[in-house]
Symmetry: C2
Subunit: 378 residues, 2 copies
C-alpha cells in the first residue's frame, strides 16, 4: 500500500500507474471530491496539518510519498522516527523546500546555479543589488509555486514594495535574492532514483511560461546534442546532491552561450513531465511508483516527439464544464487529460493535453491548435 | 456516465481510460472485489441475469457497453426499447453471439470464412464430415470462450464423444461445424467504429495459443505488407457487416498461400489488443470509450513493435500472490499489468505484460523472458 499526501492530479496519475501494476494506494486530501477520490483505494479526508491523519495514513501504508513539497517536514520526520518509509525523505525535503538551503547544497556540490544571497530585510536585498546589479529576482525562501512567491525587482526603488508583496499576512518572511539570468530557454530534466540507488534520466524538455504558470512543454528541446547531454548529466549530478528517492524535476536555464544553470528542483513528478505518459517508454508516474516500491526503474527514453499544453480554468469560478473535448480530440495524436476538479477557477490547472507527432515543432503546433479548441469554465 | 456490464480486467482498463478523460463510469459485476471495483465511480454488485440491476445501471448511465459477449441480448434489447443507448447494439450482439449467424452474416457479405454448416445432432455433424472431410472443428453455437466450447473431431468415430463433450449439463446444444483450416498463423485485427460512423483499423497482430488460451501476441505480424493491408481492409469490411459501435476484434487465419479467412469476431476490446496500451498512439480501451462517447477516434497506428504475454494463474486455487515482479520489470521495455483478482486459479488470466522493443522479434524474446520471471499463484 502506497500512501500519497495530496489528492490532486499528480496523485491521480500516480494512482493510475499503481493500479495498473496491482498496487494499492491511499490518498490524504482535505477535499472530499479531489481528483484522486474514487480511484485511490482509500481516501483520508483531512487537512495537511492534521498529524493524527498522517499517522492514520502511515499505519495503513508500506511507504509514503507526497505530490507537493509544502508539507511540514517535521511531521514527516516524526513519522520516519517511528519507522515509516517516506520518499523523498524528510531530510531531502527540508533542504529542497528552503530555496536558500537548496541552492547552498547545489553550489557546495559544484552544480552551476545563478548567483544568490539570503535576505532577511530590504537592506539585505539592497546589498545583494550592489553585488549582482539589477534586475534581481526576489523569492520567498519557502512556500512558492507557479510563480507565486517570486518578484522581479527592476531597480533599487522597487525593493520595499517587492518585500511587502512577498510578505502577505504581515508575517515576517525570509527571502533569497538571485542574480537575474538572461536566458535562451527554460528546460526541465526529470530524473528518478530508486530505493536501490538506480538512476534514470529523461530527455530534455523546453518549457514556456505565461504569468509564471507553465503553459507548454515541448520535447525534445531544440538544443544541440552536446547541450542536451550536459543537461542530462547535470540532472544526474543533482540527484546525487539530494540523495532523493522517487521522481525529481530539475528546472534549468539555458543561457545564450548554451551554458546551463539549475534554477530549482522539485522533489516529485512535475507538470513539465506530463508528456512522459504518451511520449516515453515509462511515464514519470510509473517510475515514481517503481522507485518507491523497490522495483527496477523503467526505460525513460522518448518514443515520439511531443508537446504538452496545460488547460487552465477560464472565466468566473464555479462548477467546472468541459467544452470542445470533441474538437480537441479531432487533432491527430491529441490526448486530453481532465483531472475531474469540481470547481473551475481562473488559471487553475484543470487538465492538460499532449500531442505526439513526427517532430517536436509539429507536435507544438498541433498542441496549440488543440489547446485553442478546449475550454474549461464554470 | 458510461455503464459497463462486467467488472473484470477489460472493464478496469476501459475505466482507466475514461478516468483519464474525466468521464465517469459504473460497473455491474457480481464479484464485490472484481478488478474494476474501487476504480469505477459506481459498482453495482449483481448477477449478470439480474434484470433489475440492468435497469439500475441504465438509469445512472448515458451509454452502456459490456466486456464479454455472453449476455442476454433480449435484456439489452428491452433496455434499448426504453431508450437506452447500448454499444455494440443488441442487434449486433445477437448475431455475433451465435457463431452460426455470425458466419452466415459474414458469408452473405462476401467475407471469406472457413466452410461451415449448422448441426443439431451427431447425424448433422456426420453429414458435414462427408462434405468437408476430416478433421472438423465442432463448436457450440453460443457461449464459448478461451477454447471452451470447441472440439477438434479427428474422424467419424469421435463425433458422438465430441457432441457429448460440448453438451455439458445435459442441455440440448446447437453446434456449428467448420472445415478444419491448415494455417500459417493466426492473426487479430482490431477495428473501431464510433457512433458517428468513423472507422479506424489497428495494425495486424500475430497470436499464439496454448491449450486454446491466448499466450502471446506479437505486433507487427511477420507478413508481407500486401497481406497485412488485405487483413486490415478485411477488418474494415467486417465492421460494415455488423454495423458495430465500439472496438471489435477480428480474428483471422492466414493460410499457407497467404489467403485470409475470418475465424471469429469479438464485439469488444480484446485480449489480443492489450499491446495497444503501450505500443499504439491510442489504446483499444481509449478508442472504445471515445467511440461510445461520440468523440473522434484516436490514431491507432503503431509507435513501437511489441509483444504481449498473458500471465495465467499457476498452482492451486487460492488467494493470489504475485512473485517476481521486480525481476520481470528488470527486462528493458517491460510493463506489467496485474488485474487485482483476489483468487488465483490455474489458467485464470491474472495479468499480462507487454514489452516494446526495436523490432517485433526482440520484443517477443524479451516478453518471453519477462513472462518466465513472473508467477501468480496462491
Amino acid at each position: 500500500m502506497i500512501g500519497i499526501i495530496g489528492g490532486g492530479q499528480l496523485c491521480k496519475m500516480m494512482v493510475m500507474e499503481a493500479k495498473k501494476m496491482g498496487l494499492r494506494t491511499a490518498a490524504l486530501d482535505p477535499e472530499p471530491r479531489c481528483p484522486a477520490h474514487g480511484i485511490a483505494d482509500v481516501h483520508i479526508v483531512a487537512a495537511f496539518d492534521d498529524r493524527q491523519a498522517f499517522e492514520d495514513l502511515t499505519a495503513q501504508c508500506d511507504v509514503l510519498t507526497y505530490e507537493f513539497e509544502h508539507i511540514d517536514a517535521a511531521a514527516l520526520r516524526a513519522l520516519e522516527r517511528r519507522g515509516a518509509k517516506v520518499y523523498p525523505t524528510a531530510a531531502s525535503l527540508e533542504v529542497i523546500q528552503d530555496k536558500q538551503r537548496q541552492k547552498e547544497a547545489m553550489a557546495a556540490a559544484g552544480i552551476p546555479v545563478p548567483a544568490f544571497l539570503p535576505a532577511e530585510s530590504a537592506e539585505d536585498v539592497r546589498r545583494a543589488g550592489e553585488t549582482f546589479g539589477y534586475p534581481l529576482m526576489l523569492k520567498n525562501r519557502a512556500g512558492g509555486y507557479d510563480g507565486k512567491g517570486n518578484v522581479l525587482v527592476e531597480d533599487e526603488n522597487e525593493i520595499e514594495q517587492a518585500c511587502a508583496a512577498l510578505s502577505t499576512g504581515g508575517k515576517k518572511r525570509s527571502f533569497i535574492v538571485e542574480a537575474y539570468v538572461r536566458l535562451l530557454m527554460e528546460i526541465s530534466v526529470l530524473a528518478c532514483r530508486s530505493v536501490n540507488g538506480e538512476v534514470r534520466v529523461y530527455p530534455v524538455a523546453m518549457n514556456h511560461h505565461e504569468d509564471s504558470i507553465l503553459v507548454r512543454t515541448v520535447v525534445p528541446a531544440p538544443l544541440p546534442d552536446s547541450v542536451s547531454e550536459s543537461a542530462m548529466a547535470l540532472a544526474s549530478d543533482v540527484m546525487d546532491v539530494f540523495r532523493g528517492v522517487g521522481m525529481f524535476c530539475v528546472e534549468m536555464f539555458v543561457q545564450s552561450d548554451h551554458t546551463l544553470l539549475v534554477n530549482e528542483v522539485a522533489p516529485r513528478p512535475h507538470n513539465s513531465g506530463h508528456y512522459t505518459i504518451e511520449a516515453c517508454v515509462t511515464s514519470q508516474f510509473e517510475n515514481h511508483i517503481r522507485a518507491m516500491a523497490g522495483l527496477p526503474l523503467g526505460d525513460p527514453s522518448l518514443v515520439k516527439p511531443a508537446a504538452m499544453r496545460n488547460i487552465l480554468g477560464r472565466g468566473a469560478a464555479g462548477p467546472a464544464k468541459v467544452l470542445g473535448m470533441e474538437k480537441a480530440l479531432g487533432i491527430p495524436g491529441a490526448k486530453v487529460h481532465i483531472y475531474g476538479k469540481e470547481i473551475s477557477k481562473p488559471q487553475r490547472k484543470m487538465g492538460h493535453l499532449t500531442v505526439t507527432a513526427a517532430d517536436a515543432g509539429l507536435a507544438a503546433k498541433l498542441a496549440d491548435e488543440a489547446a485553442a479548441l478546449i475550454v474549461i469554465t464554470s
